[in-house]
Symmetry: C2
Subunit: 364 residues, 2 copies
């Protein structure tokens, strides 16, 4: 995500700084100044931000205390560190939704498996670790009491299972003055095994009323954080048309990759406009789109090799983004492919073709 | 141009190297390896290319001998150095068109002003220095014998003046196997004082027959060089509908900047596809577009300051590209702005607005 933000940064007259522990990370060679350091370390983040004007993040797992000090010293931090504090911890995030009357599945907090075992009446439910989950890790589906052993023996959220019809996301952009635009909703089709996005479609196939409801909720969520930034609001639509907030990412997000080609203003450009104090761009779509994540093959670890790229590039309206990660491992996000098309059938067909042809494996 | 090529490079799993004398150049911080050196120096270019797989250029004024040695040693050089040799020298370029029966204005070669003075019968004409001209420099319009003193006292081309109705350019892409696609023609409106592009429009406002003729000529030109690459063929359309090749740039070109947002495959992505041996992308347009170059104000030199950016970013369908050059000077290309729109009127109006609002000046 940092890499794509830097690709867009080159359109503005700005100097860019990246803090990362891995000097071979995808962003290292696309910025003016690469600073090696741990984003979770107080001293590292503080030192990093000292001479900068504006800071942002691409992952919530950063040292928030340091960002708070930087913000207090007058730096613009997008989103505000207070938002990260809430979102980073799923218990706080769920309480935030409840306190703001934002529809989100009913939940309990648990701190041990022993405690979890007393919640048989609450099943089926989803157990989510409060901190540190990412990309499908830190989430367990608990259907029967026999599943309790799969739960987390630490601070977690136990969430009532929603009878999901569709998973969607709406991205909201809020500028430094509180002005707001929202991107059309996207629909996410998940891989049932990896719990990772299989492919994504825009626009969504939902009744207008449900879309409006989702948009209203997304706006409410984004506003509730009282911060400039991008807010990717992930929602669950149930079989009765009910819309429930699953979680929010206060940053550029996987569900917005397609905006690079398919929308007037990409999420990356939008974030720069916010950070630089420029007017927001239009979030309207130029074309319907689908998006496929390129995920490390489950049987491969090591130096990455991409198969099928040439074949896919021969397909019209297909855009490839490889993230420049040297090493692949099972389930790792290594790139994505955006497809523009006229209708849903074409978009799904091409997404399936991409998934069939493109393989992220390791070199022998 | 290198900068935009690098922005696009980040979508592929490749390692990038840049050779440039200025370590603060726009490309320096967007590549994996910046090598300081003189692109006109034989040793520098040879050493630079030694361990690379594929090389390209963003300006013709490079050391061609070194590129020839690299090519002979098995490197892929796009375009072939032999093409650069022809194009770099306007006399050779004109002879090339003549030898290939490509329509281009009648010409004579001159080597001194004394010699030039014997060509009164050839006026009105355009005098172009054979080597080293760039961005409007090295070109003089000679209408009367009294203008001869403005000519060049060195190897030059004296070209019959065409009664120009419209200046256009057609970009042709040829892959390593000789497959070819062409971008729709663009129309260029020049600033009569600076001899620099004022704004550019796509599509062109020309009869279908004239467009076809121009496309056929552009294909003929591109093929005549017998090399993979991008070929921006600049042509003059006279008042009788005649089409004349003005000159060709065998590389990414100013006349293709709009392809980033307005076409399915940008010229930058197209060149990567060529260099990496991938299939060519579609060159079709997504939207009509206009393009304005951001040029250093004639009264300003020094640390650059951009005025009016915020106002322009509030206009819908406007895309800004600043090249990250620290210093402005009169007539220097500092960035460009692409505008998407429904019709010619809207595109011209917005181009005029950009030119009125955005100023590239120096900091006080």
């Amino acid at each position: 995500m940092g890499r794509m933000l830097l690709q867009e940064a080159a359109n503005y007259a700005i100097e860019t700084y990246i803090l990362e522990s891995d000097p071979d990370c995808p962003s290292a060679r696309l910025c003016h100044h690469f600073i090696q350091g741990d984003i979770r370390n107080y001293e590292d983040v503080l030192a990093f931000g000292q001479n900068l004007d504006v800071l942002t993040i691409e992952i919530e797992a950063v040292n928030i205390e340091a960002l708070e000090v930087l913000e207090a010293s007058g730096k613009t931090v997008v989103p505000k560190p207070a938002v990260l504090k809430i979102i980073k911890n799923k218990i706080l995030q769920k309480e935030h939704y409840r306190n703001h009357q934002i529809p989100s599945p009913a939940f309990k907090t648990t701190y041990s498996i022993a405690e979890l075992k007393g919640e048989s009446d609450f099943l089926p439910a989803v157990h989510k670790i409060a901190e540190g989950g990412y990309d499908g890790r830190g989430v367990q589906i608990l259907k029967h009491p026999s599943d309790f052993e799969k739960g987390f023996d630490t601070a977690s959220v136990l969430e009532k299972m929603v009878d999901v019809q569709t998973e969607i996301a709406v991205m909201v952009a809020i500028d430094l003055n509180g002005k707001l635009v929202l991107y059309p909703a996207v629909e996410m089709i998940f891989d049932p095994y990896l719990n990772l996005l299989d492919y994504q479609l825009c626009p969504v196939n939902l009744p207008e009323k449900t879309r409006w409801k989702a948009e209203a909720i997304a706006v409410k969520v984004a506003k509730s954080f009282e911060s400039p930034g991008l807010f990717a609001v992930e929602m669950l639509v149930d079989r009765e048309g009910g819309v429930w907030v699953n979680e929010t990412a206060p940053r550029v997000h996987n569900s917005g990759h397609h905006t690079i080609e398919a929308h007037i203003t990409s999420q990356y450009d939008m974030l720069w406009r916010i950070m630089l104090g420029y007017p927001l761009g239009s979030a309207d779509s130029i074309s319907a789109s689908s998006l496929v994540n390129l995920i490390g093959d489950k049987d491969h670890s090591g130096n990455v090799k991409y198969e099928g790229i040439s074949e896919i590039l021969a397909t019209e309206n297909v855009y490839i983004h490889l993230y420049g990660k040297a090493q692949t491992k099972p389930g790792r996000k290594m790139g994505h492919i955006t497809i523009l098309g006229r209708d849903r059938i074409e978009l799904i067909m091409k997404a399936k073709l991409v998934k069939e042809k493109v393989k992220v494996i390791s070199q022998p």
